[in-house]
């Protein structure tokens, strides 16, 4: 399992290649890239700043991935999350899950993203024409994470 918090951008293809390298049992890699959008809740976003809680962030994500491993048969997982100043179109997060079969890889990848959205200590601040504002937590993210409590 790899968890990295960094200001630098990442190369999703190289990360996926490294994740599966040397394990010929892997038949499936499901992945997700989250990106900065130029509009949020109707307002144009020119920049975003991501703050996090160093130390706790890594632990929280490791626990999420460990939980995914108890639920699905997966070989390995990777989470890269950026912090600091980002612009529209920039990559924010990469979650990649490798497994023998696609069903487990897809489910675990989506689970990690849903839990990361509600359990990992990151906070987004958007800079718009109106000034800067902290992004409010979305009820839809709690609902997405809650779905997994009755499943799998």
């Amino acid at each position: 399992m790899t968890v990295r918090i960094q200001t630098a951008d990442f190369d999703a293809g190289a990360e996926i290649a490294a994740l599966r390298a040397g394990n010929p049992k892997i038949g499936a890699v499901a992945s997700f890239v989250g990106l900065v959008r130029d509009v949020n809740e109707g307002e144009r976003v020119s920049q975003m700043t991501l703050e996090h809680y160093p130390g706790m962030t890594e632990k929280a994500i490791e626990e999420i991935v460990a939980e995914a491993r108890t639920r699905w048969d997966i070989c390995d997982a990777l989470v890269v999350h950026r912090v600091g100043a980002l612009k529209p179109g920039d990559q924010i997060v990469l979650v990649a899950v490798a497994g023998a079969h696609r069903g487990d890889a897809f489910a675990a990848c989506q689970f990690v993203m849903d839990y990361l959205k509600t359990r990992a200590p990151f906070w987004k601040k958007e800079h718009t024409g109106e000034g800067a504002r902290w992004v409010e937590a979305r009820a839809s993210d709690e609902i997405a994470a809650g779905r997994w409590r009755s499943k799998g």
Binding site: Y53, M56, P121, E136, A137
Partner: protein, 84 residues
């Protein structure tokens, strides 16, 4: 002494990201620490009110109101998370 950290909107509203405080007798869990800090009034009272959505962690793990807090712990308060 406990270290108390504040993040994001809370850090800005309170004007500090980190402080060290001596736990008075009787302050033994997260709710009690939060009430102690809220008793400072002003932004502290507003941001840490029982009705606010503030979340807490003790020693880098998500915590509840009744999570124990003791000397040497690292406590954090922050808004609901919005990463990813």
């Amino acid at each position: 002494m406990v270290t108390v950290l504040y993040f994001a909107r809370l850090r800005e509203a309170l004007g500090t990201g980190r402080e060290q405080i001596e736990l008075p007798p009787g302050v033994r869990d997260l709710d009690a620490l939060r009430a102690l800090l809220a008793s400072r009034g002003g932004a502290w009272a507003r941001e840490l009110a029982p009705a606010s959505t503030v979340r807490g962690a003790v020693n880098e793990a998500m915590a509840r109101g009744d999570t124990r807090v003791a000397d040497g712990d690292e406590v954090a308060f922050f808004p609901p998370v919005t990463g990813g």
